[in-house]
Symmetry: C2
């Protein structure tokens, strides 16, 4: 569930493309500026200068700071990330939650800054939603595997289970800003796995 | 878990105090401006004008916009709110989640604007954390009652249970911005209640 590194961007996979190269330079500059200065310090001029790309190019292609942030988020989803496979539901959810915790604790705090920026720019908010939607969709295989192993009943609502497992992470890390708790990933995973085993997500509508 | 209405502020309880009256006028103006214009439209001048209070008074007493927001949040916690008592754990948690959903859906969107503002101002963020801390502390009685009714084992970790029940609300409403789902309050409550019955919060550290 973490944002991609610059190396995961399009430029490396299409090494010959000038357009892709410029995009990679600009998005790396956005991440760097965001990490150092936060949303309030992020400007089209600062990004262009840092990326060593013409300001006119940045304006033409990204429009405004919201457009830059949205493209950083879209690029973060343009990778081959797959959820961990630990051979148990609780293990998979714990590993997933650990990635979220690590991502939020990373320095510079790009993931945290992008979430904060989603409250400032509607374009960034939409891109953040697209990224989460994509990540949750990719994670549904965690629930499919648990059903196939017989850990969960068929028909378990994967999305509700995944939100139940991960929501306490985001609540603590993004909203409550609780001090670091190394047990949080496993506690939240275990809670969701116990609820799932008790049939909490077995039928969508009762 | 909702923000208080202007009527719940100190002014009504200390009707004779000029200081309290000014505070009530200013905080009502902050809420109104925030609801109409959001954080970006909130200024010390706009609040002073709307409240019909001297700008110098507003600057002296609240310092800056962050100070105003922090005081709105502190005032929201200065009430006699208690969690609903429906005679069952799932019922109590559902009613609590319903209040959160209603608060986030209210127009003008004061609660949503205050949460968004907590990403802009450290003072507002600290006040938001104090408000949540106070609300969660007041909600612990929900778990105490369930233990006394025999619904939950003694030693159940009230805070973790309450966060598990409410986190999906905040995740959907604040971060994922999912379309309105009338079943969400009950689904999240039921999930937490099932996990609690399965012992998810029975022992703090394993």
């Amino acid at each position: 569930m973490t944002a991609s590194t610059p190396e995961a961007d399009g430029a490396r996979r299409r090494p010959g493309g000038r357009t892709a190269r410029i995009r990679a330079q600009v998005l790396a500059a956005v991440r760097a500026e965001l990490g150092e200065r936060g949303f309030d310090g992020l400007t089209m001029e600062g990004v262009a200068a840092r990326a060593e790309v013409h300001r006119a190019t940045v304006y033409r292609r990204w429009g405004d700071v919201g457009g830059l942030l949205a493209d950083v988020l879209d690029a973060a989803g343009d990778d081959d990330w797959r959820p961990p496979d630990t051979a148990s539901l609780e293990g998979d959810l714990t590993a997933l939650n650990q990635e979220i915790q690590d991502g939020m604790a990373a320095r510079p705090p790009i993931m945290a800054a992008l979430i904060a920026a989603s409250f400032r720019s509607e374009k960034a908010a939409e891109a953040q939603r697209r990224l989460w939607e994509d990540r949750y969709a990719r994670c549904e295989i965690v629930v499919d595997r648990a059903v196939r192993r017989g850990e969960l009943p068929p028909g378990t609502d994967a999305r509700r289970l995944l939100v139940a497992a991960t929501a306490p992470m985001y609540h603590h890390l993004v909203l409550l800003r609780t001090p670091h708790d190394p047990d949080l990933p496993r506690d939240a995973a275990r809670t969701a796995a116990l609820a799932a085993a008790a049939g909490a997500f077995a039928d969508r509508r009762r």
